[in-house]
Amino acid sequence: MEKSQDFEEEIFDFFLTRKDLEELLKKMGYQIDSTGVIIDSETGRPVKGIKGEEINIKKDRDFAVVFGSHIFVRNIAEFSHLLSEKNLIIFKREE
């Protein structure tokens, strides 16, 4: 059996089913309106990606929630932009 302490020390990226991801978002305090736009229940405002566009789970089917600064990205290109802004892209020198 896994030891709890070991598990606590782990950091996971999760790839969930759409149903699970939507449930998790709701638990985090977001709502999804009838058009698919994610709304922050606290502010009543739509959630935006790092390029400033609203996230719509019906249109932006490849969206992700990124923790560390709690940001939504609409797709892989936005994720790459975020990695760049966080200085997390490291180019290894080709021999």
Binding site: D13, L24, S80
Partner: protein, 347 residues
Amino acid sequence: MDYSFLSVLDKLIDRVPLFLKILEKIESWFHERKEVLEIDVETLKNLMNLYKIFEKLKEEERLLENKEIRAQFENAEKFFEKYAIGWSSKRGKYVIIRKDYEEFQRYLEKIITLKKVESKSFFFITTLDIGFNYEELKTTPKYLEEDLVQVISRLPSNIKFEFISLINLSIHIEKLYLDGRMEEAENIKKSIKSVYGDFGLKFLNLFQRKYLKTFLRTLKEKDPLTMEKEIRKFFEEDTRYIFFIHKDMTIDDIEKIKIKVKIALQNKENYVAIHSLGEATLIAESIIKDIEKNKIPEEYTRHMVDKPTDYKTFTEKREEASIRDFSVIWYKGEAGKRLFGFLLNFV
């Protein structure tokens, strides 16, 4: 039966043995009372594909009228209800975790509270059909020549993040092409277009064709202000008449390119090029044929490329085939020669 029905059915039948194998693995896992199971990339990809089929089946209920398909669907449903899939940074492995595992539940609770708190660790949550692509982009090392790494580190701050992101994506897409993963590459290209617009696609194409890499090398000794000026000139002027043909271009798009190329040649612009790969080569050939019906000014040197690349694709029978490059370039004068040198990787 229509095509989509047959396509889903074929995929499902193809993957039944794999699915049974995964279930068998999980049975033995239960037996060992493990809560976290490390899996290899192939198993992850199989689960990802099964999930895609599972989602498709949910959308097309009539497929579920077939008893065998329904049974597989229910198996998949049970599986995805019980287990979560992800990547463990500590282990450097993909994992399956039982959702009813107490520690997993506690972990999720922790994530939920993170909404208001900045966490020290960087991690993401997405859906199963795209998670692998995110993870690959995040964890696969990107190799770049030493001199380019130095130039990139000195890029002006207003374009730095965008350029680094686009270089990251360009290297990633190059790898996907070399691996024969065209569909995934095309999906990422769509996301580049939606985030960076036409500039993003131009960047990607110029990088792929070596123009951009070689150009960036010429900036080695330049100060940030000059760098910015030259970068703008490179994208807005020097490469204005380089066209990249895509297989999904409309007749209207193609006609517009024909007109632009004809005018550029009439105006004796220094560098005019048409590049194409794979299925798009047929479109490019027809464009060239049409353009060359008119006399090309004699100042131009014509260069043609028509050969297979190292990029791969797979036929319907899963046989490997290389992707063809078809390009025609007309260049003249020192400026034209310089840009032609960029294509050939000469500074």
